[in-house]
Symmetry: C2
């Protein structure tokens, strides 16, 4: 294999596929990046067996071929090369010669044959979604996925496409985050995606320009196509929780409040709450204000926030962490909080639309 | 004590004095910040017994007094309060009431009497130096202080004021960094300042505007006055190395080279060098270029840099880390490298002035 390509493009490609390269793996070949030169394209591939990422760049190919190179060393070198053309040449003994400007590197590669192939996902059962929308759907749900490996299905987020609607849902046993959107598609599908995959997709989306994402499904895998990048992930197996059943349809108290003000007050209250157990803060909701308080050994705090209350007064306790994480991803200026009793779930929604629902369980207050 | 002061000023003050608050200390009172309200000033003090930092702000004082508050909690609260007036009120039981906007905090403080007093430094033996100059002197020497506690004196930098010259010198056994400048002063003095103190001063300088620093000396302590901040540090005891003797006055080869080009090439070469022993790189200096190379198990690298050579060709090896750290603080576009033999020190200097000298020992090359 012998190619010439721009350092900028190569560096971008390496940064993307490195997200699927594991540093801790028992299979040494997986610490490498596969380079494959064919048909005027250089394809780079990273693969940790859970996620595989491919990225293609247009390249001048002098001799087709392929090789696996240490991801860490190759990445460090490519990033540090000057902004110029890079020549990569491989000899018959898997030696890799990298030339750029006045720099000459020689590295020892590994045969491409040993690199595990990515699962094949036919681009048939495919829907198209806006990059920005996908980014927001992930941002607004991923923090509510479970960290607890004893229920593996909850360590991922459910993606559900039904009747031109797309939903993403995460549940960890204490809260539920549900983001919905309209989508123009004929397909119907359901899949639970590992949170690690969603994280990597969000990082790749973050660095890419606007445009479309093509999502394709098989029984065991999902493929995201973002510009020149293909991300193939395994899916989590098993049945997800029937989330619709969990969400209460009625409430006794409804509070309308400014998102930023509530966030700031809870952040301050949690400075003391985190010194105690469960980050416990207490809401005392009255006519036109709510009092947020926390009492711990080293001190106490009281915060007052202006609200509009519809319904009954209520006193209720929460783990402040669970409120903060949701408030930080709320895009609307005002939100509604819905309560039934001090031991039943609270619902948090944007005041101006129905596309996001966050449910959180209260913490029982000691009398 | 009862005071009212702006959140912005209080937050700045806390950020500064917190640099002298130790999180790991056997004396619990030292985890606190001393607040002292007197004569329309609020003084905040942090003290870890090595360094003490005081910062004063203009404040409306309703009742004079003093208290010690947990630095971590108080700092977190002050930073999160809204940009408004903060009222701090202390009762007879050392309870601290902090009010700001719709926030009310109550914390348990400790009596100010238990807080160790800072050493007294008379502002008599004092010189004045530009903030920007001091910042650069520290930046260009501090990385060459020793990490080895078996020779404590070398874990600090020598500051020497003599005949209207100020020098700062650091030596760690492998290299020496010396920064000199003109200073308009009558005093003469010598002191070895712990690198930790210099680090904190640099952080405080970094966040302050331009202006003067007042430096005062006693036998055991040094005082830096920067605007409203006073930093008092103990000095290291013992005799510093007679550094003038170490610096060779002659050379056989002198190389003039572009700083940035040399830095970039060594950075690339060190990507492989760091995979081997001692970060070893080799310079082969010839007529109008130098070759920088490294050979390790996983590969090799060759870099070529254009130079102007005066004197003899030379081959010499270095720990690339020691070259990189100095090249990163070189402010001049071009530098001179001076060599005598492949086993004697190399001198690195700016090409256009004499105010900085960096000496580094070579690594012996195996034949």
């Amino acid at each position: 294999m012998k190619i010439i390509c721009s350092q900028k493009k190569l560096s971008t490609a390496v940064n993307i596929v490195q997200k699927a390269v594991s540093t801790k793996t028992t299979l040494p070949i997986l610490k490498g990046i596969l380079l494959e030169a064919k048909n005027d394209k250089l394809k780079l591939v990273g693969n940790d067996l859970d996620i595989g990422i491919e990225h293609e760049i247009d390249t001048k190919i002098i001799r087709e071929g392929s090789i696996v190179i240490s991801s860490r060393i190759f990445g460090d070198i490519v990033r540090k090369l000057p902004d110029s053309d890079v020549e990569i040449d491989i000899d018959d003994n898997n030696n890799v010669y990298i030339k750029c400007g006045h720099s000459d590197f020689k590295l020892v590669g590994q045969p491409a044959l040993e690199f595990p192939e990515l699962p094949y996902v036919e681009e048939e059962n495919t829907c198209i979604i806006d990059q920005d929308l996908l980014r927001n759907m992930i941002r607004q749900t991923i923090f509510a996925t479970s960290q607890d490996e004893t229920r593996p299905i909850l360590t991922g987020a459910l993606i559900e496409i039904l009747n031109n609607n797309i939903s993403m849902v995460a549940i960890d046993g204490y809260r539920l985050a549900l983001r919905r959107a309209f989508i123009d598609t004929d397909i119907q599908n359901k899949a639970v995606i590992p949170s690690k995959t969603l994280n990597e997709i969000n990082r790749i989306l973050g660095s890419e320009s606007d445009g479309n994402v093509y999502i394709s499904f098989t029984d065991k895998h999902i493929l995201f196509k973002i510009d020149e990048t293909r991300i193939i992930s395994r899916l989590l197996e098993g049945e997800f929780i029937n989330y619709e059943q969990i969400i209460p349809r009625e409430y006794k108290s409804k509070v309308r409040v400014n998102t930023k003000e509530l966030l700031n007050s809870i952040e301050r209250a949690s400075l003391l709450a985190k010194e105690g157990k469960n980050n416990l803060i207490k809401f005392s909701i009255r006519d036109d204000f709510m009092n947020i308080s926390s009492n711990v050994e080293i001190g106490s705090v009281n915060e007052e926030v202006a609200i509009e209350l519809e319904g009954e007064d209520i006193d209720i306790g929460f783990n402040s962490k669970y409120l903060l994480e949701a408030l930080k991803v709320m895009d609307s200026e005002e939100i509604n909080l819905e309560f039934t009793t001090s031991v039943s779930p609270c619902i948090m929604k944007p005041a101006d639309n129905e596309n996001y629902i966050y449910l959180v369980l209260p913490v029982r207050l000691s009398k």
